[in-house]
Symmetry: C2
Subunit: 398 residues, 2 copies
């Protein structure tokens, strides 16, 4: 923690790495970075606060705390090395929290790094580990859990946790950052603050809390199974599809619509089958490709065109493959309906399982979970078409 | 054409099939349907207008006309059989135009059915046939061409035409209907009227004209290669991604932003390689799946997560496969950038070709076209990264 005197003004904040040695840059409590010429200001090092933070953090981990932050990697726990321009993972969650001294005003926080991976490398084993750790934290007395995660596959992990944790004893909030925390425009600070506040509510659902984009203090709360990362780099990339978000966390309060309330106990059911493949149909997709995929998969999700269509010549392969084939729509918005056109009816006759308005990515994760529980075709169809974790909004087409 | 006297009011329109024999339903000139109890109204059959329309259409086909409408199938040329509830293709384009007598006030129209297929069954051979017919129509003197098409794969066909027709002698407008033309809420009437008007402008690009959704008289004009069907059933499903639409057709006029002007001659270059596969990455995608696909493909487009990432364990397969592997983002919005994270840089080292902000579906069609011209890896990369038909908005990442 530094105190910097520039003319008559005084600024306090945590030092962040500067790309220019003649500049000193600090992150203010409000999350913004500010830079000064070293030769123009007086710099005073405040040892106490920063050390106090780390001491409290250690105490919290050893003792009791309200909100458990579990780090899994990603941009929120990364920093830019200005000498190379590359983004590096932070060495620890405490390093991350060091940039966010304000968090101690919200809750007693315990932080732990489970692993540190780019989220594109996440898979079932990581999802299971997170689910287990979440249960342990809630069972041990945490009021809520925040999972920091890379944004690339954050929605897939959130969906997986929503199916793996059918009942939770406190809010489970996934969050991340589209921009690394040492950048002035970083959303990591805001997202983690909002997630920590959300973790103290009565929410009994797995949610995603990410910058809403509309104003600089607004974080949207999304239902895990209905969210999609809709932009590669914008801070407001995360969107609830098919309805409004579950709510918002703002400076002046938390606003939530109807939601499931937290339960007395946390239940885990993390059996998964990793042999599922997700395929997006495109014109001229060859049966050779579909056959090669179904042969090598325990089940397939096809994101068809429009209401959920594929070309006629693929339908025989779907019928013959003997694996569950689920149908969603690549349109992202709206619902499948295989009863309107001849192609849809042929797909139904071939045994394809329409999944209402489920998102392709959610359907892929859900089929992994369902096939972890049963291989019986009718049971698979029944489970895929049952709304288990808020993944189906529109039931008209079922 | 019928004239119906109900009390003191008189309505004129084309008869549409009624689900209830006691009702008579007509489609008014404004596109809306209205139903009457047969025993409460006076019905007069106006043979002349409808016959005149069909006669003029025949004449136009034999002689000269300004706008050529080429039918390929889809909902816009379909009707609902009220006895079964199923949607059937119209038997001819004249049957379709019969419902739209107002079109003759816009232009001298010639109409032809090329084929009648659900658009999910379209493939390269259909795209080539349409491109050839478009060129023939423009060469023969048509000022513009409207292609009616099923909405499911309309954007893929539009992209294909944009690459296959590098220079056009008049507007080429693709349009369709999300709801069949005998439904009161059909968008087919509005879309075809607007497309016909657009076909008389100086537009030298392949475009898509579909209901804008904002008001009932507004049709958005989209650039072929930047459009995505973003809803399964809404009339405003078609959206330009990454920028505003190219313009709008409204009752009071046509408004277009900067666009390529029509050329003196139409050039066709329709060589395609159908061996391209489009894959969306998901967490845990197995190398076995990717290998099976690359072995069976002449090139692959991978829609990665975020800035264009896949899991580390797939990268060796990408390097070893010896086929061009193009990278786009499954986020739909925003641009790929393989220079920010380690995964991206590994992908670049493995020879993957980042495609800026190109849409996954457009990249798939473009790679078919590029591989129809060269198999040389560097030439493929060069062409994929060159903006040929407006498919790249954001060049920062290249």
């Amino acid at each position: 923690m530094l105190r910097i005197k520039s003319g008559k003004r005084i600024y306090e904040g945590v030092e962040v790495q500067s790309y220019d040695p003649s500049l000193i840059v600090i992150k203010l409590n409000n999350g913004y970075n500010i830079g000064f010429r070293r030769d123009k200001v007086e710099i005073e090092r405040l040892e106490d606060t920063d050390g106090g933070m780390q001491k409290r953090e250690r105490e919290a981990i050893g003792g009791t705390y309200d909100v458990s932050i579990l780090g899994t990697g990603g941009t929120i726990a990364s920093y830019v090395d200005y000498s190379t321009g590359a983004v590096h993972p932070a060495r620890s969650t405490s390093e991350l929290l060091r940039f966010m001294p304000e968090i101690k005003s919200i809750a007693r926080v315990g932080a732990r790094v489970l692993f540190s991976v780019f989220s594109e490398n996440m898979r079932c084993e990581h999802w299971k580990r997170i689910a287990q750790e979440v249960k342990e934290e809630l069972d041990a007395g945490a009021k809520g859990v925040v999972v920091t995660h890379g944004t690339d596959t954050l929605c897939y992990t959130a969906s997986a946790l929503a199916f793996m944790l059918p009942q939770i004893g406190g809010p489970v909030v996934l969050t991340g950052a589209q921009r690394s925390t040492d950048r002035p425009s970083s959303d990591g600070f805001l997202n983690l603050m909002a997630s920590t506040r959300l973790a103290l509510t009565d929410l009994g659902e797995v949610t995603i809390a990410m910058h809403a984009g509309s104003s600089d203090d607004s974080v949207a709360v999304h239902r895990a199974t209905r969210t999609r990362k809709m932009h590669t780099s914008a801070r407001s990339a995360f969107q609830t599809i098919g309805s409004a978000p579950l709510g918002y966390v703002r400076n002046d309060g938390i606003e939530l619509t109807e939601h499931r309330k937290k339960a007395d106990e946390t239940v885990i059911d993390a059996r998964m089958d990793e042999g599922v493949t997700l395929l997006y149909f495109y014109p001229g997709m060859r049966t050779e490709i579909l056959d090669a995929v179904t042969e090598r998969s325990s089940g397939v999700v096809i994101a068809g065109t429009g209401l959920g269509h594929v070309s006629d010549d693929l339908i025989e392969s779907i019928e013959a493959c003997g694996k569950p084939v689920c149908i969603v729509s690549q349109c992202i918005n709206g619902s499948t309906n295989l009863n309107v056109y001849a192609t849809g009816r042929k797909l139904l006759n071939a045994g394809a399982i329409p999944c209402a308005d489920m998102l392709p990515e959610t359907a892929c994760v859900k089929l992994m979970w369902v096939l972890g529980h049963t291989k019986d075709r009718d049971e698979v169809a029944g489970l895929m078409q049952r709304n288990i974790a808020g993944e189906i909004c529109d039931r008209r087409s079922l």
